[in-house]
């Protein structure tokens, strides 16, 4: 099985990373190499790290409601860094009406409280697999 590298980023100021860390560990246990940026990262920092680490996918977590502004900002930062191709998945406390908007902006999957961890792992695996197929 191929080893996928992914980056879990936590943009915004909220320090509640229990969820982000759980997902990171669950992904590790599912065989991923997971790079975690820590809390309070700017979109530019997350994008630069994703590029340097050559990850196949980025996962973002936000619990403070800052997703609406910050998730698209990470996409923009990736684009600016020439890494538009890296899929971005997001999770946290996200109102239903924000989900179509985030997807339209380019977030490939959105997870909300209660999403089973297996669903999340599969979404990452699929995103990584597609990305690896494209890379040279």
């Amino acid at each position: 099985m191929e080893l996928y590298r992914i980056l879990i980023g936590k943009p915004g100021l909220d320090g509640h990373d229990r969820g982000a860390k759980f997902i990171a560990r669950a992904l590790r246990d599912a065989g991923f190499e997971v790079i975690y940026t820590g809390i309070r990262r700017t979109p530019d920092e997350i994008a630069a790290s994703a590029v340097q680490e050559d990850v196949a996918a980025v996962g973002l977590s936000s619990m403070s409601g800052a997703h609406a502004r910050l998730f698209p900002a990470v996409l923009e930062a990736l684009d600016k860094a020439g890494a538009k191709d890296i899929p971005v998945l997001g999770g946290g406390i996200i109102p239903a009406e924000d989900i179509p908007r985030l997807k339209k902006a380019g977030i490939s999957s959105v997870f909300t409280p209660g999403t089973p961890v297996d669903t999340i792992i599969n979404a990452f695996r699929e995103a990584c697999c597609q990305h690896h197929q494209q890379r040279c």
Binding site: R18, K21, R25, R40, A96
Partner: protein, 552 residues
């Protein structure tokens, strides 16, 4: 029961008699339905040495059965609900309404930029201004926040950590302008930095610099504001981050011991500052374990204070604590179930002898609660207080074999863990090497795995589900709040005496560079000159550096 027991008699003649004389009980007689009297304190047939050693009498070492001799028969716990509002003006309006309604204490929540020492116009603050609490940039905001609120009469609890010194200084200067002296002000600042590194995440400076700021506050307040509680040592967030009950007790008390040692090293008098230490715990859903946890924490703290620091004064050894029900147990599914969860958790806190309590609202898992749900949360406390009967007798669970066994076990396990932290070089070292965070994360991971696998049932989540749309309600903050806050900040900055600002910040920097200086004085001066929170924290960031956190 041997009511003529000499030890009992001695307690009755001293602690109990003194308390009853000063604070009569709430009712002349407490009775069950039908008139049977409720005993103040149920006791074993024989009050032997083992009983005295482990449980003792309420209000007496080792305080297992509570810190006051009559507990809730004398006075109910304080029902304190924490809330935050976007701007200083909106908060002020709300506070004045609450005070008109007879409330005597305020609880202030700050927004994240304020908690992390950024001004509202900092790029890092974008989108977060006024979101989870009030935004405070300069003294001007604090003046609005407490406008027409008499700071000599009310007590204010502020949930603030890294920049606690700055907010405290602003509070003191606002009081001063009202003609209220620092020695008159009452309240609490959270000011518990050690737990921020392992759980809550609003740290700014490295641990050693934080400890210095905390000790400076202890020192200044001991001399100048003796009625102010200078720290609230918080296990709440450690538990929310996923720790076990035992870990919550262990790491919280270990943090407490670190603060005590640091203050002693700085030459402070134990019996002056230790009585101002307050604690803050979490009440989760395992009713009996939680009740036992509070009893164990109280006994262990008393023993640690006595054994490690040779404390003798009762108030130095007493663990007084605030409790909040466990936010992480609230589910987005079938939200009404949360009322039941909160009831069980609140009951655990009361059975465990809490001094004050915040009950979460049913809809708090996903958003700020509605007014109706806040009322239900408060009613939950009132039903426990007035209808359940558990408040009518002291420490009702004592003597249950299971409860006492559990109390002993939690105390012992927590002590073992505290000793382990000591062995690994103490709390600061264990923050830096990741031991504490690692323990918490392992526990959190195991717990969540048990839920994912169905081994642990969470009603409505992994069993007993109904077909429902779990929708996260939308909370949109008016972007005008941020713009207005930034505009006001710019105005304050434009109108102040720039030379004074420069001088104050330079003085602060010099003081920060000298390890022996107490920073309260230069911070008070800076605040008076309308230096902003971001400027003051910026200077300290420059001197102390910033803590970067660790991943695992």
């Amino acid at each position: 029961m041997s009511k003529q027991d000499p030890a009992l008699q001695e307690w009755q003649d001293n602690e109990l008699a003194r308390t009853l004389a000063r604070f009569p009980e709430r009712k002349e007689a407490f009775t069950c339905h039908g008139g049977r009297p409720v005993e103040r304190l149920a006791l074993p047939k024989e009050i032997d040495e083992a009983y005295q050693d482990k449980l003792g009498f309420p209000g007496r070492y080792p305080y297992t059965r509570g810190v006051q001799p009559t507990m809730y028969r004398g006075r109910l716990w304080t029902m304190r609900q924490y809330a935050g509002f976007s701007t200083a003006a909106a908060s002020n309006e709300r506070y004045r309404y609450l005070l008109d309604q007879g409330q005597t204490g305020l609880s202030v929540a700050f927004d994240l930029p304020t908690q992390i020492g950024y001004d509202s116009d900092d790029p890092m603050a974008l989108g977060e201004v006024g979101k989870v609490g009030v935004a405070i940039d300069t003294l001007a905001d604090m003046e609005i926040l407490f406008d027409q609120i008499p700071l000599d009469k009310i007590s204010t609890s502020m949930t603030i950590n890294s920049p606690a010194m700055v907010l405290l200084a602003m509070y003191i200067v606002v009081a001063e302008k009202q003609g209220v002296k620092a020695e008159q002000i009452m309240g609490t600042i959270q000011n518990d930095l050690l737990k921020e590194y392992v759980a809550r995440g609003t740290y700014i400076f490295p641990p050693r610099a934080s400890l210095r700021l905390i000790t400076n506050i202890f020192q200044w307040c001991s001399a100048n504001a003796p009625r102010f509680n200078t720290i609230s040592i918080s296990g709440y967030h450690i538990r929310e981050a996923g720790s076990t009950a035992t870990q919550e007790v262990a790491f919280t008390l270990a943090n407490g011991l670190t603060y005590v040692q640091t203050a002693l090293d700085a030459g402070l008098d134990l019996d002056v500052f230790a009585p101002r230490l307050a604690f803050f715990f979490n009440a989760s859903s395992n009713l009996l374990e939680e009740a036992a946890k509070f009893r164990a924490a109280r006994r262990l703290w008393a023993r640690l204070m006595k054994e490690r620091f040779q404390a003798e004064k009762p108030s130095t050894m007493m663990l007084r604590f605030h409790t909040q029900t466990a936010g992480n147990t609230l589910t987005a599914q079938q939200v009404d179930n949360n009322i039941v969860r909160v009831t069980i958790q609140a009951l655990a806190a009361v059975l465990g002898g809490t001094q004050s309590l915040h009950t979460n609202s049913r809809d708090e898992a996903l958003s700020l609660p509605t007014e109706d749900s806040v009322r239900t949360a408060l009613r939950t406390q009132q039903i426990i207080a007035h209808e359940s009967g558990v408040a009518d007798t002291v420490d009702p669970l004592a003597g249950s074999w299971y409860i006492e066994e559990l109390t002993d076990a939690i105390e012992q396990e927590a002590l073992d863990l505290i000793n382990q932290v000591d062995e690994f070089g103490g709390v600061v070292a264990c923050i830096e090497n990741g031991f504490i965070a690692g323990q918490i994360e392992d526990a959190a991971y195991q717990y969540q795995q048990q839920i994912e696998s169905g081994e642990r049932v969470i009603v409505g989540v992994n069993e007993f589900q109904v077909d429902e749309d779990v929708e996260v309600p939308v909370m949109r903050l008016d972007p005008a709040v941020e713009d207005e806050q930034v505009r006001q900040l710019k105005q304050v900055k434009a109108e102040r005496d720039q030379e004074a600002v420069r001088q104050c910040l330079a003085d602060l920097e010099n003081a920060a560079r000298s390890d022996s200086a107490n920073l309260m004085k230069p911070v008070l001066a800076a605040v008076r000159a309308y230096c902003s929170l971001g400027e003051i924290c910026g200077v300290l960031r420059g001197v102390f550096g910033e803590y970067r956190g660790r991943a695992w």
